[in-house]
Subunit: 204 residues, 2 copies
């Protein structure tokens, strides 16, 4: 019988493999491969990665304003002078902030909820940073809250809940448009997206 | 245009993503995912992994006898009393030692070459630990050298070269059998394997 662990490697290597295997997309086999690769590239990769992990764990914190990750609190996105304070883009996760920033499509402020409402996973409004969003949206100068949430049941439920919470403020609440991804092939798209794209068709 | 880097994340996060992306099987996207996952599991995973990397980089060394990796030199496999000194199993890489040890199929000593001869990649005999193997094989009590190398052109060339180098010692040199993997499906096998399996068929 095969032993899924590597009982003959030294405890240092075993521990490293065990921890690498916990990374998303890694398993025991790819963790062993990564460990060997790292041991072959000690100065170029292994030592710098060890330092980078320790440094980031020590210094990166959650921004108390928007919920994004940065070494400073408030974060660079919240303090950047060039960004429009009147627009708040609401996303579920920090990864969504990064995606929007890579696209360079948005120059306002962000608000990271830290997840989506989910009856299945037991995630309630008080588990998300919704109270803080309502507080931010009520500040003078805020013109619009843009919901950049996934078009799933949870994303829509979260969007509706936020819209309700924001209605007393009278602030405009919008959501990203649904439709055909740019460069996407029609035959690869799901029915829901095709339906949405047809419903919100635009004149040429 | 999309920027493949994440210019708005803090330098600490950018550096971490950049290094994670260099791991085998990782790319910019999976590195970002891994970085976020790590930042969410600081105490359980990120800090321990940072320590494990630093520790392994500092303490794990290549065994001067067999070429395997361990915190001790000579390594645990070379010093284990219970193993047979008369058998030396020759492998290309440390990963092969781990695979054989997981299988628990071999109780002798190992010898890691550190690669295979390759005219294409310019790997010559002096780049591999072949001299050390000849020296070890000449020691009294060694009965057999088992070549556990891949059945590729490079693996076979390396095997032939080693056999030649060992012929003055008069020691028996064997290689792993070729054939159908246990549990493998015939229709998934390449022609070379099927040919080898037929050639070396055994009576039931």
């Amino acid at each position: 019988m095969r032993n899924p662990r590597t009982p003959t490697a030294s405890p240092e290597i075993e521990r490293l493999i065990e921890l690498l295997a916990k990374l998303p997309g890694m398993g025991p086999r790819s963790a062993r491969r990564a460990a060997l690769y790292l041991l072959k590239k000690r100065e170029a990769l292994m030592e710098p990665l060890g330092i980078a992990l320790t440094q980031a764990a020590a210094h990166v914190k959650t921004c108390s304003t928007c919920g994004a990750l940065d070494a400073a609190d408030p974060c660079a996105l919240c303090t950047a002078q060039s960004r429009d304070d009147g627009l708040i883009c609401v996303v579920a996760d920090v990864a969504d902030v990064w995606a929007l920033e890579r696209a360079g499509a948005f120059r306002g402020r962000y608000h990271v909820l830290g997840g989506l409402l989910s009856a299945l996973d037991g995630i309630r409004p008080e588990d998300l940073r919704i109270g803080k969003l309502v507080e931010r949206a009520a500040r003078p100068g805020v013109r619009e809250v843009i919901l950049a949430l996934t078009a799933t049941v949870d994303g829509q439920a979260t969007g509706h809940y936020i819209t309700e919470q924001l209605s007393p403020t009278g602030i405009a609440v919008t959501r990203l448009s649904h439709g055909v991804p740019v460069g996407g092939e029609l035959e690869m798209l799901d029915d829901g997206t095709l339906f949405a794209a047809l419903q919100s068709r635009r004149p040429l």
